[in-house]
């Protein structure tokens, strides 16, 4: 057993931190897109729109039922062979697409469960005051479902941040890809991957801190 090359590790930190913005960019854009898509699918699943429902269920089944890595390869290496509009897709776009579709499938089910958990009185009161279904969902039901779904959704966001590391398999030099390159140059694999592990861990911990504030905010109506 050899000693850790701490000096190398310390020197690697600023290099790798330079790639954090790209990782966060992919995760944030993916999360926002996935939230929108998942909310729409969840509302559809609650109201069961004929025909659309079959499509949404198939979508959720496929994107939950296949590995994220397989989906990324399908988008990046596969689709350009059959769809000409996809020919110029770059790795970052393919990653964001993959993360969005993959996680929206999971998130749709969490949001659907949260919507169904909102007390019946809330639906009836919205109807009784004469709200349209869109007003009822946007003003009353979804805000209350958000409170229930928030911890699970933050978990998916954490998973998504870590999932961006798969972009390196599409040739994107992001945090993981950059670490791989550095390690291949120095042969100090343990040190390099230890540093990148620490960077991911810290990012997630910062997020967990933000989560506590988010939950306090969402729970403000329920504090006595």
């Amino acid at each position: 057993m050899r000693a850790l090359d701490l000096e190398y590790m310390w020197g690697l930190v600023p290099v790798l931190l330079g790639y954090v913005p790209l990782t966060l960019f992919m995760a944030l854009v993916g999360m926002v897109c996935a939230l929108v898509l998942a909310s729409l699918m969840a509302v559809e699943r609650v109201f069961r729109v004929p025909l659309l429902d079959i499509f949404v269920r198939l979508f959720i089944s496929f994107f939950r039922g296949t590995p994220l890595l397989v989906q990324l390869f399908l988008f990046y290496y596969g689709l350009p062979q059959v769809l000409s509009v996809m020919t110029n897709i770059n790795g970052v776009t393919a990653t964001i697409m993959g993360l969005t579709l993959h996680f929206s499938a999971y998130m749709a089910e969490s949001i659907r469960a949260a919507i169904l958990g909102v007390d019946r009185s809330q639906w009836e009161a919205s109807q009784a005051v004469g709200m349209t279904q869109v007003q009822m969902m946007s003003q009353i039901i979804l805000p209350q479902a958000a409170r229930v779904a928030a911890p699970t959704l933050v978990n998916y966001f954490i998973d998504m941040i870590k999932g961006t590391s798969l972009a390196f398999t599409l040739g994107v030099t992001e945090l993981m890809g950059a670490t791989q390159k550095e390690a291949a140059g120095s042969f100090l694999y343990f040190e390099a991957f230890l540093v990148v592990a620490a960077i991911y861990w810290i990012m997630v911990e910062v997020l967990a801190f933000a989560q506590r504030h988010l939950e306090t905010y969402l729970n403000k109506a329920h504090a006595r």
């Binding site: 009185s121 009836e124 009784a128 005051v129 709200m131 003003q139 009353i140 209350q144 109506a221």
Partner: protein, 248 residues
């Protein structure tokens, strides 16, 4: 009564599974009339109210509120929305919007349904909160209000809509006894303004005070109806007599 004022319900029927809960109910209510529905539990009183604004969809019958007339069999989503916008509803379990403050509970529908500006809606909500004695609770969420306070906000929310018909579904039944008085007081004030009201309640003394007419229901039928003095003191039907003896 002209054909375009007041409320007219005709042939209303509601079936749950194999049980017919409402059997061919017909009621006419004059503008400003305050009608109280009494009767044993499980006789369709709440279902009647819920069918009048389609929280439960009636199987047949017609409902006319002012010049809006809809047929249960053919009512579209737009018809139902239009009907709900002419009525207001006070729930047994208050059903305040849990994610909205007391003020927002009242102003929400004014903004989304009546298209008032936020400041107009808030001003109206604050006026109602003062009227209901809850001015200091404007920014409080329902979870931090007592049952009586929640129900007063619930009534305030319904008052704000200026509906042609206010429906009250056992508004004091879920309350601790100590809060019943303040809720009935508020309802008395609404009644004094000659708001058209249809109230399901077990509060007989209250019914006697404020009702223009009391309807006694049993087994999905209207058994008999009349002014309080007549129905409560000189009931004709044996079922009415038996019920009034039980509730004392």
């Amino acid at each position: 009564m002209t054909s375009s004022s007041g409320i007219s319900v005709s042939g209303l029927t509601k079936v749950f599974g194999t049980t017919t809960v409402l059997k061919d109910i017909s009621i006419d209510i004059a503008p400003g009339e305050r009608v109280v529905v009494i009767g044993p539990s499980g006789t369709g009183k709440s279902t009647l109210l819920r069918c009048l604004n389609f929280l439960d969809r009636p199987d047949s019958g017609t409902i006319r509120v002012g010049d809006l007339r809809i047929d249960a069999k053919t009512a579209s989503g737009a018809d139902i929305l239009a009907l709900r916008r002419r009525t207001s509803f006070v729930f047994q379990n208050y059903a305040l919007f849990a994610n909205k403050t007391a003020r927002e509970n009242i102003s929400q529908a004014l903004i989304t349904v009546k298209s008032l500006s936020r400041s107009e809606a808030n001003a109206r909500a604050d006026a109602i909160l003062r009227e209901t004695g809850l001015a200091d609770k404007a920014d409080v969420y329902p979870a931090a209000l007592s049952g009586g306070q929640q129900q007063r906000v619930g009534i305030g929310r319904a008052m704000a809509l200026d509906a042609e018909l206010m429906l009250f579904d056992e508004p004091t039944s879920a309350l601790d006894p100590e809060w019943v008085g303040e809720v009935l007081d508020l309802m008395r004030r609404v009644a004094e303004e000659r708001q058209t009201m249809l109230i399901v309640t077990h509060e007989m003394q209250f019914a006697r005070e404020i009702a223009d007419r009391i309807i006694f229901m049993a087994d999905g039928h209207i058994v008999e109806q009349g002014p309080p003095a007549q129905l409560l003191d000189l009931p004709q039907d044996d079922r009415t007599k038996a019920f009034l003896r039980r509730v004392g």
